[in-house]
Amino acid sequence: MRIMVLKKRDLILILFFLLVGIFLIFLFNYPQQTGIAIVEQNGAEICRFDLQKQNRTEEINVGDKYNVRLKIEPGAISFIHSDCPDQICVKTGKISKPGQAAVCLPAKISVKITGNKKTHDGYTG
């Protein structure tokens, strides 16, 4: 039996496929930077936005007696207005990562971000 000697071209070929493989593994493992924002009232979904596909900034009126308004922009969502006394929702600022949530307690309106990769299991505080 003859020992097979690899040619340079064969080596390049193997290397190429290995690189493709590694690239694909990274692609599958790469955490999604953002996700789907789900707007809920009292735990029931009102609407959802794919923040990754969002390519312009817009405001939506969720209403309620507190006149809640949300701002949706590429990769992030935030409460920009509520007539509630505590303003916690507005102060929360922009949320963008899966697992994050912003809430207007008096209006019982919440926005949570879901996605395949959560950076955290939960938030305290």
């Binding site: 097979m4 064969d10 070929l13 193997i14 496929f17 290995l18 493709v20 493989g21 694909l24 593994i25 599958f28 493992n29 809920e40 009292n42 735990g43 006394p85 505590d86 916690i88 102060k91 929360t92 600022g93 922009k94 949320i95 990562k97 994050q100 949530a101 809430v103 307690l105 008096p106 019982k108 919440s110 949570k112 879901t114 950076t119 955290h120 299991d121 939960g122 938030y123 305290t124 505080g125």
Partner: protein, 354 residues
Amino acid sequence: MKKNKKAILLLSSILLVLIILITVIWIKSGKKPPSYECTNFAMGTYIQQTAYGKNGEKAAQEAAKKIGELENLISWRINDSDINKINSAAGSEWKTINPKTTQLLKTSLDVAKKSKGAFDPTILPITSMWDFGGDNQHVPSKTDINNFIKYVDYNNLRINENNSSASLKLHYMGLDLGAIGKGAACQEAVSAYKEKGADYGIVAVGGSIGIYGSKPDGSLWNIAVRNPKKGENQELSIGTIEIDSGFVSTSGTYEKEFTENGVTYHHLLNPKTGYPVNNGLVSVTVVCDNGALSDALSTACFVLGKEEGVKLLNEYNAEGIFIDNNNKIFVTEKLKNHFRISDSQYSILNNGVK
């Protein structure tokens, strides 16, 4: 012959790549059982649950139900709740209550005693005047605070475990379990997960968190600690705690506050003075194996301050993270290796309490 070899080489390379890919995808998808997420509002706050396993949905629904039942027992705002009954009968008679309420009052009294009143379940006369987050939030007059602060005294709360009853000694007294209830709710959820056979799960009731079981890949649960300074360009969290089980609660000034005549008042009131605590802390996070305790201790430690707070945590075998208004973070000894900062504006005070 040579061509054949090349073809074999090519095919085996492709095969190799495919095998690696399939293995990776298989491992990733095989690891996670189905998960069920749900959110709702109860106990005056936002509740987020994620329960895993084929019984996840049932478990989360049971948890939501149990939290609702607990709220109906311990909220002073709800007519006919145990707490409402005790408050209405303050200064007159004992009331028979659910054993669950009795147990929670017992835990409250224990923390009240050990914290020397830094946590006080009888703080309602004062909290109801401030009404943080309510439609009538305002700074009460000095006279009102002076008149009512004497009715805040846990020594005048009496419980009888034998017949599950409780009473407040003086008229005008009132119980407010707001500083322990969310942690107790986490405990209810975790017991529901266990009862209904969820594989593992996590519940957040406001800023309190309960963990049930462990993840199949063996990784620890990571809990983000919220940045006390919220705003446009701030990161949402300042760091991460990694734990395998237990409960986490945070008391922070930013949760409920309002500004009147240029002064900002936060909701963490000193039961001795009736005014917001002003000791340089902005938040305290407590990790412990009991939900109600983690919640009550976070409030007690905030009021006590770092040094006394750490002593109290030691008594309960609990761990904590104290954040002050100079962006300095103090982490108790056992938690140090499980906490890492992600926001470079903050730094850890390493040398501990002397």
